[in-house]
């Protein structure tokens, strides 16, 4: 039964563009747009959860990595005319590189200092993006980022220009990230991560080097965030410094912690709830933030494992750790 349910859900998700067109024909483009954002944010949230949920390092630096990837892709596409896939790869690598560089000193710090240090990093990155006008054009934004074209040089090329096309691209990216996430958080590697998160001294005693595993999760998480950044800018065709502010961290925290930190399904549920639902409910924007904050406060106090665990309890399923 569970198998069948999952398959039906997966089929529905893939067929969404047609379903949406059938059910809400006049609003289908808007709905697809929201779904694209949701998929991208879900991938971003998963990359964040790797660091926060599985290795237990409360990093607040994710917007910086997202931004590095986004700007790298934007600059390579507009100034150097790199093909989409090459730019995507470069973006992910650039973000991962930055993470590796800053991770070494950052991880020497204690937990609290680490959090504040990563916050400082995010802020500095934002300030640089805003002021290093020669490279990022600062508040004037990088415009004219072309639509993605998939394919290898010399072979067949597929240009992604329609909304359903984007949706499937984003979905494919999400699937890839989710698969990687699954791989990294189960079996031996996953257990090592969790050992570091749950009991660092014991892990060290058992021969698991906490620094190495934290750096691994941190770097991979950053690389994935950079990749999502690249997809994001190709979708919007514009990249401005406002897209990488601390507000993004807050969004991610909401998605991960309210959804269910450290669980794949939890993060996915969180992404859907907190990206798609607010758009569809169309509350007054400032009130929306008040409600977000209040919800976050309530849930994190009453049920820190997030809505996912609440759902699990409600539907009587076994915990999925």
């Amino acid at each position: 039964m569970r198998r069948a349910a999952t398959l039906v859900l997966a089929a529905a998700v893939v067929a969404a563009p047609w379903l949406v067109a059938a059910v809400v024909p006049r609003q289908q483009r808007y709905v697809l747009h929201v779904l694209i954002f949701t998929a991208l944010f879900a991938a971003l949230a998963l990359s964040y959860d790797l660091v926060v949920g599985h290795v237990g390092s409360l990093s607040l630096a994710h917007p910086a990595f997202f931004g590095v990837g986004a700007y790298a892709a934007a600059i390579l596409a507009t100034r150097a005319h790199w093909p989409f896939l090459a730019g995507l790869l470069a973006a992910a690598l650039a973000a991962a590189l930055v993470a590796a560089l800053v991770g070494v000193p950052l991880f020497r710090l204690t937990e609290h200092a680490f959090a504040v240090g990563t916050l400082g990093l995010a802020l500095v990155a934002g300030i640089v993006a805003n002021n290093w006008v020669e490279v990022t054009r600062g508040p004037l934004c990088i415009t004219g980022i072309p639509k993605p074209v998939l394919g290898l040089p010399g072979g067949p090329m597929v240009a992604i220009t329609t909304l359903p096309g984007y949706y499937w691209l984003a979905l494919a990216a999400l699937a890839a990230v989710a698969l990687l996430y699954r791989r990294l958080t189960t079996f031996r590697l996953g257990r090592a991560f969790h050992a570091v998160r749950d009991n660092e001294p014991l892990a060290g005693a058992a021969g698991i080097d906490p620094l190495r595993y934290r750096m691994l999760a941190f770097t991979i998480g950053a690389g994935l965030a950079g990749g999502v950044g690249a997809l994001y800018v190709h979708y919007l065709s514009v990249m401005c410094p406002e897209e990488m502010t601390v507000a993004l961290t807050v969004n991610l925290l909401v998605i991960v912690f309210l959804g269910g930190v450290g669980t794949l399904r939890g993060v996915l549920v969180g992404a859907i709830l907190f990206t798609a639902l607010p758009e569809f409910l169309r509350l007054a924007p400032t009130w929306r933030l008040v409600i977000y904050g209040a919800l976050l406060l309530l849930v994190v106090v009453r049920s820190p494992e997030g809505i996912d665990s609440l759902l699990r309890r409600a539907t009587g399923a076994r915990p999925a750790r």
């Binding site: 609003q27 483009r29 508040p139 004037l140 415009t143 514009v238 990249m239 406002e242």
Partner: protein
Amino acid sequence: MRMRVALTLVALLLAALSAGALSVGAQAPPIRIGFASAMSGPAAITGEGVRWGATLAVEEINAKGGIMGRKLEASFADNKATPGEAVSAVRKLADVDQVDVIIGQTHSGACLGAMPVVKELGVPMVIEACSHPKIRELSGKGGNEWTFRVALDDEIMAYTFARYMARQGVKSSSVLAMNNDFGRGAAGAYEAAFKKAGVTLVSTEFFDPGQPDYRPVLTRLKRANPETILGVILASDGAPFMRQFRELGLTQKVFSRGSLASAEFLHQVRDNPKIGDGVVEAGYWVVGLDPDWDKKWTERYKVPPRIHGSLAAITLKWAVVPAIEIALKKHGKADRQTIRAALKEVDVKDSPLGPIKFDDHHQAWINMILIEMRDGQLRILERLQTSPALLN
């Protein structure tokens, strides 16, 4: 069990959407105008102004019976002053609210993000305030046929203003600009314009809007010692800036572009209005261009009229409404295509901003006005006409 929960959630979601999509077939459906601006976040004050201005203007028009019997209906969307959200805002207005025309986005980053989407969706957008010069380049012939702009951009204003300053005998200036799209764009434009006009640019400084402390930059300016200072600054930052300017005893003449010489500024320095004496500002809107409107605004909202709401209202009343009239007369309907075509034919001679007629790049060449602030009063020094010839 979980399946049922999931299905119920999805069903609820789609039901909520469909409910929004249902429209009651009325005799003469209203013409829907969408307004997009920053309704939340640090720039929320602009969105609030737009909402107020739009509401007041739409009520005014409907009270007179609408346009040829057709009432107007306003919808609002939040672009949070970022391009990503601007895309969502445009899509929401177009697909969910089914608007026939959009007025927005107030902030240049948002405008740039929105432009490709209005083209894709085929919704005309009339820009009331974005000042990025690239917008003019990208609109109209050979580019985006769906975007139009009423406001002047910084290139136009910079060349006009620099020429005026040179005429007054100004030899050198330093630029102090907000560190956002507005400020950076303007600073870039003035750099080129000063060169052309023969004014030496001594230095350029940027500051973060909303931050309270100008003494460091004022010290730098004092050291650089330009003859004049050109401030690209809004009233809310302008008030502390001018106070600290006086505090430090600087004596340069201050020219400005933004909303330094404005009713808001005077309200903020009402304890000592002389703080703003001598500031000359280049803009295209000031309180007093439409006293009727000012009165209605003050009565309704209890604060002096704001630029962002008033621009949206003027754009509605003197650009979009005439277009709707033309569309209704010619084709009997005012939908996205007819309104776009009609916008190209709009030729208003006497709006509060000046003539509104869109050229090949869908730019209206409204008047630039020079406002001087003295003794707590604002007066219009000069009204300058603008035209493409200025840029040569």
